[in-house]
Symmetry: C2
Subunit: 314 residues, 2 copies
């Protein structure tokens, strides 16, 4: 590997990233592209790609390519694009989105328990009437997926004196939860939850895992929060339990189809909050720093951070 | 002291408290009153009073009275009412409101940085447009008053990876802050704050302590959150700096006059949130448990929790 790698930045707005990396002393040659055609024109020399969503073509026409760094934490699409390049190392962002995503989750939870909409309406009417709000403290929070994002939500749940349950495949960090469940114990996991937060990666095992059975096992007071991937949930089953009042509501930042179609019931169902995939933003600064650190490791032959296990799917 | 004390519950709705205490095995004789006249009729026998706001008359016509437990954390009014009874022990609620008040503070902070109103408006228009929110992480939180309420706000600020400054008279717990300031260092304390939260008791020293000078020293990005007492702030000065855009906004749960008059600028000033003193609710259950524990100590001759130092003012 040359100490002056050829790096392609492939995204919708690659110039921002290129400017940031140049200003922060990124070694090597930086090239930008936002279309497969533009990428094809430079691909012969490319050693490294930093990218958002990327078509398979871009990876397949780059014979020297050795490493792809995704700008995202969820990379189910990259696994498909890179299927024809098993020789290429893939990495994703880790330890960057946990803070912002946990802030999103607790902003939405606190807005509900502390009745902010009611308070705003009272202020608009210049109305002063004391009432007693609910509290997060004492409620039971279930976090499905205990990677860096899930663990940050657990940490903040602890600070709010919630009871915290976790579900994950590996059982790592299980000791940090009040109770830990493995991936085939979904019904037991959700049975007592006030809040279910999904942070799982989308893999063949997790596709549609929150189905009618799991949703049916939730208490009627429960709120479902999805900051993972839309397809983790059987959306039709979710709409049914919401319509039937079998759960209290849902906060959805991700959808099987984004944006959800204009006639999707989610936009208007009572108790449902829809946000445009804003919970964990890939900021230029955050992604830039992560990539630069990983690039140093790459050039020194050290193990990269955020290595994707293609078999496992994340 | 008889092991069967005569207890008067004096508040606007004393029956709820009386019912709770009876159901939870409170020893002694329980009497309720919500007017001075009703209290006078029973006051000859009373050993203990559990009360919200209470007139001086009620305390002065009870010759056997030895202890008054307030239902509140802030007790500047009780100090006035009890001035003629220096022989009576006064206690206030401590360690009960920290959790709810900190939830209130972080609900309001997160709603602002995560732009919940913008997101709700987008959902109403079925609009899907990605944008990058600000984060609490990295911002500087200043907490004035480091009693059980202030410390709970500090704890949650830490969980959100904020830099935390504290101001207090005693300097206790100073080591838990990134920086600690004593009570005469207000200007230095506020100079770099993104958020100033007031949890101080109202005493002669703190009356109007957040004045034009302190407000003028805040950065223009700063938000002032008052969950202590309205009179901690010079409200006219606050209105001026808000009108001049010298600070970003205010979240006010307490006011010098409650409710604020209908023509108060606070109701409509941009950047100002008004709530009807809901941050730290005196719930029947919370107050009941606190009183019952303290009553046990009282009957055993042990030191009470939440002892008020009349000289200090809290």
């Amino acid at each position: 590997m040359s100490i002056q790698p050829h790096i392609l930045i492939y995204s919708r707005h690659p110039e921002e990233f290129q400017g940031w990396l140049r200003d922060h002393g990124c070694p090597g040659t930086l090239t930008s592209a936002s279309t497969p055609e533009a990428a094809a024109a430079v691909s012969g020399d490319i050693d490294v790609i930093l990218c958002g969503r990327v078509p398979a073509d871009v990876l397949e026409c780059a014979p020297r390519l050795r490493w792809v760094q995704s700008m995202n934490a969820g990379i189910e699409d990259l696994l498909v694009s890179a299927a024809g390049r098993p020789d290429v190392v893939l990495t994703r962002i880790v330890d960057l989105f946990g803070g912002p995503i946990a802030e999103y989750v607790f902003a939405e939870l606190l807005a509900r328990v502390r009745e902010l909409e009611r308070l705003r309406a009272m202020q608009a009417r210049r109305e002063w009437e004391h009432f007693i709000c609910d509290t997060l403290a004492g409620k039971t929070l279930g976090v499905a997926g205990l990677g860096s994002i899930g663990r940050e939500i657990v940490r903040k749940g602890r600070a709010f004196d919630m009871k915290v349950y976790g579900l994950s495949r590996s059982g790592d960090h299980a000791g940090y939860m009040d109770r830990h469940f493995v991936s085939d114990a979904w019904v037991d996991f959700v049975r007592d939850l006030d809040v279910l937060v999904l942070t799982l990666p989308l893999t063949p095992e997790t596709d549609g895992v929150v189905d009618a059975v799991v949703l049916g096992a939730l208490p009627s007071r429960a709120l479902v929060v999805n900051v993972g991937r839309g397809r983790l949930i059987d959306e039709d089953a979710l709409i049914r339990v919401l319509l039937q009042g079998k759960i209290a509501g849902a906060v959805l930042d991700v959808f099987a189809q984004e944006p959800p179609p204009a006639d999707s019931p989610f936009w208007t169902l009572p108790g449902v909050t829809v946000t445009p995939h804003v919970s964990g933003p890939s900021t230029v600064d955050g992604v830039g720093r992560f990539f630069l650190e990983n690039l140093k490791r790459f050039l020194q032959g050290d193990e990269l951070v955020g290595m994707i296990d293609r078999q496992r799917g994340y």
